[in-house]
Amino acid sequence: MVVILWTDGLVFLLSGLILAFAVYASRRPHLSLPWRRVGQSRSGMISAVILICFVSIGLLDSFHFRPQIAIDKGKPIYSVEVLSAFDFLVETMRNHTERTYSSPFSAYAFSRETVASDGVQSRIYPRLRYGGADLADPGRERIPDILKRSLVAALEGIGVWALLAAILVFRHSGGKSFPDAASSIFRGETEIPWNAMLGTLLAIFLIAFPAFALSSHYHVFGTDKVGQDVFYLALKSIRTGLVIGTLTTLVMLPFAIFLGIMAGYLGGWLDDVIQYLYTMLNSIPAVLLIAASVLMMQVYIDAHPALFETMAERADLRLLFLCMILGMTSWTGLCRLLRGEALKLREMEYILAAQAFGVSRLRIVTRHILPNVMHIVLISVVMEFSSLVLAEAVLSYVGVGVDPSMISFGTMINSARLEMAREPMVWWPLAAAFVFMFAMVLSANLFADAVRDAFDPRTRVASRRIPPVKDEA
């Protein structure tokens, strides 16, 4: 049974909007021109490749369904567990749960247990149920096994990469011979830095293919306290981060745009009211506002357990609500920016010219003001993304973030923070959360920089300093 959670629906809606815009913009040079500048940015495109990998995982993780477990009198009975297409792909990782901690690639448990064999009780490190289970003598066979499997997977990765690269070269040959086209791409003579993007993709494949191949035989990032595979948790966290980073802005945008433009363009008492509203919201410490709202939500959820068929639906609603609350606290900044811009645009001569034609206010707002503030909206959306992903972690740590049952970077860190104090230390859950979060936020930041540079007319100044030929001679 297919389940469409609230956030799934919004994620699909957002993807649809982006696709529609891409089609629309591709035929309009003034819209596509800045995107072409983004396309020329090396760091921007490298981070875009990484982001696309994250987004694909997130999208796969957004197709939810409830598996059928039995048929009762012709009526199918569905599991209460909601799974996603992604869960289905990495089923082994999801199912391979150990009893408790185990370190990365280990074949043994992390701590001694008392095991009774042949009536003799001994404290040993027991073998894991899944990690390295098919090895007879892990001590000797484990490393060669890991290397062999990685190598095979890496070769597969290179194969797939080569295929993709060949398709790209073929599409770009445009009259040139295949080797010529290939060399122009690899020497970076193309407008879009394909060579850097292909390099990034290769690097990702060389890590991802072995990691996935090994994940069905080992725990690449170990297991956590309840024996869940940490690699699986980290991958599942990606969707949560993406949803928070994107839906929050999607939720707040209508408010910010509508109120900001109204305040700036119409002015008068409306302006006073809107300014009062955002000064008031701004003056409440954000964490307190979020905490109060989330607690309120939690009380509501706890009071109405019957509303939710599954735990996933409950967690999802809380996630959506968190997005809304974050949106409520973060729209004020954009609103103020847009108000200022609309105030400036109101005096622009093309708007006066439109007024001289008797064009209605609504048309002036939609045809003249809105298109000319969209670059500000876009810049602030992409800049906001990474700070929202980071905020989720902090809020979940405080206990007012996502539902504790929902896998996210925040809950991972929250449940792992005490493990640093253990002797010996359990470092891998934190390390996994760190690596994945860092990769995601860093690439989002770099991409946001590229977008800002391309769209913001102020930053588009040549910053390169060329010394005069005879300087300091």
């Binding site: 003056s283 939500m297 860093l442 920089d449």
Partner: protein, 325 residues
């Protein structure tokens, strides 16, 4: 100037009323005073009498916003909202739901909060400006390029990792300072130093990068070209002209948070076990103590509004072109 400040203060009243209204609405939209009493008394097996007594004792035995039983102004005043809000404007916060005096708690906890937040703010500011100036001076060279790369990388790391990593390295591995805890007086230094360093480090990436763009924007202005045309050195141009103009947006942008420093840092204080207002708030959130949350929201808003006023005043001090009226 005086007229301006008075107007600003008058304007603060409706904002604070709005803030209070919102806090009340949020809290009671799903909760009822009965629920509150139940939580405070222990959820199960509470007699209606006990609930009623608790409500009377804590002043929650009236209607929320409007009292239909009363007429005239009492329609508004004889309510929980009015009776709980008005004393706050006199800065009387009453007792928390578990019976302790909130004002006293705030008084004793503001000190430790400031001991962390103020140094983080000041040292952080200086570090950020220094790094930004360095990058601006070496603009478009490798120093600048790598500086920016480091900044972006540093701002991509969650603040939680700075704390966890710092605690692990400095306190656990090297045993330089205690992992957490607090003592009043001079001995507080050893507890404070690590949180301050971590606070500064975690803000360095985004701060330095932002200030760098401000300085670069100033460097591109015409008056800088005029200054260079006088024959003065690059360093003097940077410090005498660029820094002065660049500091206007930097300082005035930072001033707004100064009053809020009293509120402390939620995360930092809870990680390091500092008995400040941040951890106080966090505990109140977790135990759903409405009286404390309400007071902290109110104080936070007041401090923010003071911050806004200080911002405007600092503009007039930093920029001769601006006069308040």
């Amino acid at each position: 100037m005086i007229a301006y400040l008075i107007r600003r203060l008058l304007y603060a009243v409706p904002i604070l009323v709005g803030v209070n209204l919102l806090t009340f609405a949020l809290f009671f939209v799903v909760n009822t005073p009965d629920d509150m009493a139940r939580i405070q008394l222990g959820i199960k097996r509470v007699t209606p009498d006990a609930i009623h007594n608790w409500k009377v004792a804590h002043g929650y035995d009236k209607p929320l916003f409007f009292n239909p039983g009363e007429s005239g102004s009492n329609f508004f005043t004889d309510t929980i909202f009015f009776e709980k809000s008005v004393p706050m404007f006199r800065f009387e916060f009453g007792r928390s739901d578990d019976g302790r005096d909130i004002a006293q708690e705030i008084e004793s906890r503001a000190g430790p909060s400031l001991e962390i937040a103020l140094p983080v703010f000041l040292i952080g500011m200086m570090t950020n400006v220094s790094f930004a100036l360095m990058m601006a001076f070496f603009r478009a060279t490798l120093v600048d390029v790598w500086g920016v790369v480091m900044c972006v990388a540093a701002m991509s790391i969650s603040g939680l990792f700075y704390i966890i990593g710092g605690q692990f390295l400095v306190a656990k591995l090297w045993h330089w300072v205690p992992i957490s805890g607090f003592e009043a007086g001079a001995s507080s230094l050893k507890f404070v130093i690590l949180p301050v360093v971590i606070g500064v480090a975690s803000g360095l990436g985004s701060g330095a990068r932002w200030y760098r763009t401000i300085f670069l924007e100033e460097i591109g202005r015409d008056y800088v070209r005029t200054a260079k045309a006088k024959g003065i050195s690059e360093i003097r141009v940077l410090f005498h002209h660029v820094l002065r103009n660049g500091l206007i947006p930097i300082l005035t942008g930072a001033v707004v948070v100064i009053p809020s420093l009293f509120m402390g840092s939620l995360i930092m204080e809870s990680f390091f076990g500092i008995p400040g207002l941040g951890s106080y708030t966090l505990d109140a959130i977790n135990s759903q103590d409405f009286a404390i949350v309400r007071s902290m929201v109110f104080i936070g808003s007041v401090l923010y509004i003071i911050g806004l006023m200080l911002t405007d005043i600092s503009y007039t001090l930093a920029d001769p072109r601006i006069r308040l009226q």
